[in-house]
């Protein structure tokens, strides 16, 4: 009997469960301690949640790009963070021009529309050529090779934009319309955060409807499932792969503007951390699964925003907010260990079996 148990449970499993259990215990204990200590009022928590939703919906939009590309190519496009950076960085110059000429004050909605379009167009272009130039020639190569190429492409794009636009932080102009706050149902909410959340949710809805309902969207899903069978149905597989990068690029370009509205600055390196976070979100949700990526992004944003104060403050850690990235990546590792298919990943696991 004991023998059997010993055969079925390896020592590494035991260590993993101990680490996982320990972390869970710390989280619960820290949360209780924080709540008893009462440093934060309800107002604080509401602010954390709203900020987390805004940040998370940006991650969610970027994450759809990772997950869709993984769907069709079974590869992680590590240059997707740079696709995300290229749009808002280029659109910055348009925004700055509008600001200098006072258009931003006079016609804020029109200006924002143009900024979004420029950003999305640039990200789409970069994503399209990234696939055409860097990935397509490697179709059919062993999986490690496109992965290395993706990392190379990521650096290439970072330094390309550094060369083009310089290496300093550029401050995105304030948009007067988005200053200040609204009070909705007794909750004070910063205007720009509300706009980011609403815009991101609308974009996600549009993207999801496109993938589920449109002819191209269905073809992208077919290609994700079986390239050969898709080709036999008359679907141009290469074109659908391009379309996937285009759709992911558009989402990333839009997310980039939302990010710039939230943090009010752009930089050639700005895609790196959000890129990895969005990748984490895609894995959390179950890579290859679009609603999963969206959920994962929002979940990650919330945990990052609420987590440090909730889990760590009660443990007597002085600057918990500095540890938000540590929390995010601990979560990634835990998910990879205990639920490699992510929240909604069963479908993928079944499909591969």
């Amino acid at each position: 009997m004991l023998q059997r148990i010993r055969e079925r449970i390896s020592p590494t499993d035991v260590v993993m469960w101990l680490i996982g259990g320990g972390l869970m215990f710390m989280v619960v204990w820290g949360s209780i301690a924080t709540l008893i200590k009462g440093t934060y009022t309800t107002r604080h928590w509401i602010d954390f949640v709203i900020f987390g939703l805004a940040q998370g919906s940006v991650y969610a939009l970027i994450a759809t790009g990772y997950t869709m590309v993984y769907g069709v190519l079974r590869m992680i496009n590590f240059a997707h963070g740079e696709v995300f950076m290229s749009g808002p960085y280029t659109a910055y110059f348009v925004a700055a021009y509008f600001y200098r000429n006072d258009f931003l004050e006079a016609q804020p909605i029109l200006c924002l529309g143009v900024i979004f379009l420029v950003s999305m167009a640039v990200s789409v272009t970069i994503a399209f050529f990234l696939e055409r130039i860097a990935y397509r020639p490697l179709r059919g190569a062993p999986r490690l090779i496109p992965l290395i190429t993706a990392i190379g492409a990521s650096f290439f794009l970072q330094y390309l934009f550094r060369g083009l636009y310089g290496s300093s932080f550029q401050a995105y102009p304030d948009i007067p319309m988005l200053e200040g706050h609204w009070v909705i149902a007794g909750i004070r909410i910063l205007k720009f955060q509300a706009v980011v959340i609403v815009a991101a949710v609308m974009l996600m809805f549009a993207l999801y409807s496109f993938v589920m309902k449109s002819r191209i969207g269905k073809a992208i899903r077919s290609v994700s499932e079986d390239k050969e069978a898709s080709a036999l149905m008359g679907i141009d597989v290469d074109k659908m792969i391009s379309m996937t990068f285009v759709v992911g690029g558009a989402a990333a370009g839009a997310a980039g503007v939302l990010y710039a509205i939230m943090f009010k600055q752009v930089h050639f390196f700005m895609g790196f951390i959000p890129g990895i976070k969005a990748f984490t979100a895609a894995v959390l949700g179950g890579i290859g699964n679009i609603p999963g990526a969206m959920l994962g992004g929002i979940f990650l944003g919330l945990v990052e925003s609420v987590g440090p104060s909730l889990f760590l403050d009660g443990l007597g850690i002085v600057a918990p907010y500095q540890l938000k990235d540590a929390i995010a990546f601990t979560m990634l590792v835990m998910v990879l260990i205990f639920r490699p298919t992510g929240f909604l990943g069963e479908r993928l696991a079944v499909k591969k079996a």
Binding site: R215, K218, A219, R221, S222, E225, D226, E228, A229, S230, A231, L232, M233, G234, I235, D236, V237, R347, K351
Partner: protein, 236 residues
């Protein structure tokens, strides 16, 4: 001139010479079968015709138009559509979405509606299941869906790769009845089968493929009487 002419093709998988000088003709309205043992190269032959594999030598023509260098989706546009071995339906898409994908190349909604009605008439079962996720269909229903999907563009030539594979005998009979029905309606069919007995009953002519070469080709009647075929493929 036959409708589909495959002439002297050689196909390789790396160093493996899988098809050696294979020639197959299919006349308009005809059902032609290719029989052969496991690994003989039957699927390779259909994949080469569909453009999934490129022959190193030889040519494939439809009504005298060269298909050899075209990419698979272009070959579908020309009117040669394959139902691949193992059905390969899109399991996460609904039945209706699968049928939509069969009609991907055609954006004329009037034509699509007509073809859809024809397919649903042929396979009423698919109509009942139209909203169901295709992965949850039974094996027989999946085969119907695979065939229905391929018929959504009303192809000039239908390539069928082992449509009876893995099906219960009753369902095999159903599938062959459908093939007969399609033949009666004038569809040109190239049928690959392990079940040589049934295949030779629906086909007018047949080819025997052995280790990548055509070793015999004759009318179905003569093949059924042939000593070698009886021994090797009809189990007599």
């Amino acid at each position: 001139m036959a409708m589909l002419e495959v002439e002297g093709i050689h196909t390789y998988y790396g160093l493996i010479h899988a098809l050696k000088d294979v020639s197959v003709n299919v006349e308009e309205g005809e059902v032609v079968t290719i029989i052969g043992a496991n690994g003989a190269g039957k699927s390779t032959m259909l994949k080469t015709t569909s453009g999934l594999l490129k022959p190193r030598k030889g040519s494939i023509r439809l009504n005298d138009e060269e298909l050899t260098q075209l990419r698979p989706h272009k070959i579908v546009e020309k009117g040669v559509v394959q139902v691949p071995e193992g059905r390969r339906i899109f399991g996460t898409l609904t039945v209706m979405e699968n049928l939509d994908m069969g009609a991907f190349i055609c954006t004329n909604s009037q034509k699509n509606k007509k073809n859809l009605n024809r397919v649903l008439e042929l396979f009423p079962r698919l109509k009942e299941r139209s909203k169901q996720v295709a992965g949850t269909l039974s094996g027989g229903e999946q085969q119907m869906l695979a065939m229905g999907r391929a018929l959504m563009t009303n192809p000039k030539v239908l390539l069928l790769d082992e449509p009876s594979m893995g099906l219960a005998p009753v369902l095999v009979d159903d599938i062959f009845a459908t093939i007969r029905q399609l033949h009666d309606a004038g569809t040109t069919i190239l049928l690959v089968e392990q079940n040589a007995r049934l295949a030779l009953q629906v086909a007018s002519r047949g080819y025997v493929l052995q280790s990548g070469s055509v070793v015999l080709s004759d009318t179905a009647e003569n093949l059924e009487k042939n000593e070698m075929v009886r021994e090797a493929y009809l189990g007599e």
